[in-house]
């Protein structure tokens, strides 16, 4: 088909404008959906906030089927925080090691397989990790937990963190599984950030007689630290929101304790676990309110993470 100049005006431009606005719709859907999530979920939570008020966040008891039902989210918020914290503490060193090994140490032919390795971990569905955690890992961890608990027995602080072992399903088990799941996320972003470190900086460090490790701490890390912080925060947000794997291995009994071997519960896992038996309007509303709490918490973490990453990327583009 040949195009003539006259085609440029007239009908063609109408179609062009239609196309342009329809792409705008595609983008705007994201904003609309986010706004709708916030609106619908808060409106459905209002029932529980009317009956419980802000006590919902400070009440530790969760007794939805008692004669006088009590709906408190505190122990679930605690469980979400502690498992996400454990996950991040365990995942960060491994992720950084992986990212640095892939970009700084590995020979060229090994880089691609290493990237595929981390991507494969990301492809495994979370429910499969949960299944593996509950049937394979948890029973095998009990002995290890008991040993660990024995070592720290009698030492102040540590003995309460590594306290009595009740079962394989615990805060720590959930944290372990979550750590595996967020490792590919942190790794791939950290790798991207580290790869933007200018070759001249690295060569400069090596030319000054630095060892490879000194080159990493002296040239690569200062350059990448902002982006890595953002990557870790994204991992934290993911760990907080991850549902099914945590629901299967956390033990599903709301508790607030420093003991990481205790079974507990978290916001997403209680929603998933108790949804089926939630028949009263109040309980449904309470579970949706926990969803709202989770939404707001992850929103804050992701807002901050996105802002940090965007700023770091901008600065790095300026540097290289």
């Amino acid at each position: 088909m040949t195009l003539t100049l006259s085609d440029l005006r007239t009908k063609k431009q109408v179609g062009d404008r239609v196309f342009r606005y329809s792409t705008l719709v595609g983008g705007a859907v994201i904003l609309i959906v986010l706004a709708l999530i916030a609106y619908t979920i808060s409106s459905k939570s209002s029932l529980i906030f009317r009956t419980e008020g802000l006590d919902f966040f400070t009440e530790r008891r969760w007794a939805p089927s008692a004669d006088k039902p009590v709906f408190g989210a505190l122990s679930f918020i605690y469980g979400t925080a502690i498992t996400a914290l454990i996950a991040v503490l365990l995942a960060v060193p491994v992720s950084l090691g992986l990212a640095l090994f892939t970009t700084q140490v590995a020979p060229k032919w090994l880089k691609k397989p290493l990237v595929t390795l981390t991507d494969t971990v990301a492809v495994v569905p979370s429910v499969v990790f949960g299944l593996w955690g509950i049937i394979y890992l948890a029973p095998r961890l009990v002995g290890f937990f008991k040993n660990l608990s024995g070592w720290f027995d009698g030492i102040p602080v540590l003995s309460s963190i590594f306290g009595t072992v009740s079962a394989g399903r615990s805060f720590l088990t959930a944290g372990l599984i979550l750590a595996v799941m967020i490792t590919p996320i942190i790794t791939s972003l950290a790798r991207e950030v580290i790869e933007t470190c200018p070759q001249t900086d690295r060569d400069g460090a090596l030319a000054l007689g630095a060892t490879r490790w000194e080159m990493i701490t002296g040239a690569v890390m200062p350059h990448s630290v902002g982006g890595i912080v953002g990557a870790v925060m994204l991992g934290l947000g993911r760990a907080m929101g991850e549902t099914i794997a945590a629901a299967l291995v956390i033990g599903s009994s709301p508790t607030i304790t420093a003991n990481i071997f205790s079974s507990g519960d978290s916001l997403p896992s209680v929603i998933a676990f108790q949804w089926g038996e939630a028949t009263s309007d109040e309980k449904r509303s309470a579970l949706i309110a926990m969803g709202l709490t989770l939404f707001v918490l992850t929103l804050i973490v992701n807002f901050a993470a996105t802002a940090v990453v965007t700023r770091a990327m901008k600065r790095m583009q300026g540097a290289s």
């Binding site: 195009l3 085609d7 062009d16 196309f19 342009r20 792409t23 705008l24 719709v25 595609g26 983008g27 994201i30 959906v33 986010l34 709708l36 999530i37 619908t40 459905k44 491994v94 090691g97 992986l98 640095l100 090994f101 700084q104 140490v105 020979p107 390795l117 492809v123 495994v124 569905p125 429910v127 499969v128 949960g130 299944l131 593996w132 049937i135 394979y136 070759q199 001249t200 690295r202 060569d203 090596l206 060892t211 490879r212 490790w213 000194e214 080159m215 994204l234 929101g241 991850e242 549902t243 099914i244 629901a247 998933a272 949706i288 969803g291 939404f295 992850t298 993470a305 996105t306 290289s320």
Partner: protein, 312 residues
């Protein structure tokens, strides 16, 4: 930058060991030891993740194999056993459910996602609205999948009552999950299309829409396709958004729009919670089926995108 001249680290493939100046200072030994220790630790993190991945996959394959193969072909052709206590026969309902809900979700999310990415990269560019949109796309990618499920439950299922529990509602929740992933990966791919291709198209008198549809998207298509396939793989494995939206069927239901449905992920979740060995076996079988489906899919994607990139 340094792409034309070989970098120093490439010239010294054994690493900084050949930088000997430090040895003259007399502290080389300690520094070198530290370097070796840290390198070993980095290598260990590779080993850790490799061991975990192999353990997970090996457990799934070894435990799932006996039931999937042992019940062949019933596993793929029979509906799901009603009682968790009794052994088997099949998983057909879940396989069908996973395929149709994921396909429906893709049909919703992929056109919208690509359109959104085209807007960001071709029209919005660095404008204020585009920057806001980009920011919220990242934010939406971080919204927990269970919140998406609750959202569709409140927004779509509740107004329709018991009829609202069907494959389409599940697909809507999955589509919400896929949308930001597709927008982000597609925009990355559109960015890579050289600007002079667009300029050439415009210079020939093509309109913006023809340039985008005829030049930009075809050029970026291998990348766009593999980004979409990753999003599909992610959605096929999701459980949390389906708990509230899809119901709990055990019979095969090919109709996305009517009647409750189920999925492989839901079956894994439900059976993993049971203490009966028969249920757990079913969970392993479903896990193996899900992983094989994902692998087949990814492999098909690789071949497809390789073929397309060879053509262009």
């Amino acid at each position: 930058m340094t792409t034309s001249t070989p970098s120093l680290s490439e010239l010294t493939p054994t690493g900084p060991r050949q930088v000997q100046v430090s040895d003259l200072a007399g502290v080389g030994g300690r520094r070198r030891a530290k370097n070796a220790v840290m390198t070993a630790l980095m290598g260990m993190s590779v080993a850790v993740i490799l061991v975990v991945l192999i353990l997970v996959l090996w457990t799934v394959v070894s435990k799932g194999w006996s039931i999937v193969v042992g019940m062949f072909p019933d596993w793929f052709t029979e509906d799901i056993q009603l009682s968790p206590r009794r052994p088997g026969p099949g998983m057909k309902a879940a396989i069908v459910g996973t395929i149709i809900t994921t396909a429906m979700a893709s049909a919703i999310a992929i056109p919208l996602g690509i359109a959104g990415a085209v807007y960001l990269n071709e029209y919005g560019k660095r404008g204020l609205f585009a920057r806001i949109l980009r920011f919220f796309t990242s934010v939406m990618a971080g919204v927990p999948s269970i919140v998406m499920g609750l959202f569709i439950y409140v927004f779509w299922v509740v107004p329709r009552g018991i009829d609202g529990l069907n494959g389409f509602s599940g697909a809507l929740a999955l589509a919400c999950l896929m949308l930001p992933i597709i927008v982000r990966s597609t925009e990355e791919m559109l960015k890579l299309v050289p600007q002079n291709l667009r300029d050439a198209s415009f210079a020939l008198g093509a309109t913006g829409s023809r340039t985008t549809l005829g030049i930009v998207i075809p050029n970026a298509s291998p990348g766009i396709i593999s980004g979409c396939l990753l999003a599909i793989a992610r959605a096929a494995g999701e459980t949390a958004p389906l708990i509230f939206t899809i119901g709990a069927a055990k019979q095969t239901n090919w109709n996305v729009f009517d009647g409750t449905n189920t999925s492989l992920s839901l079956q894994i979740y439900a059976n993993a919670k049971e203490s009966f060995a028969t249920a757990q076996e079913r969970a392993w079988g479903a896990a193996l089926t899900l992983i094989v489906l994902a692998v087949l899919f990814t492999a098909a994607a690789r071949i497809l995108s390789a073929r397309i990139s060879k053509q262009s």
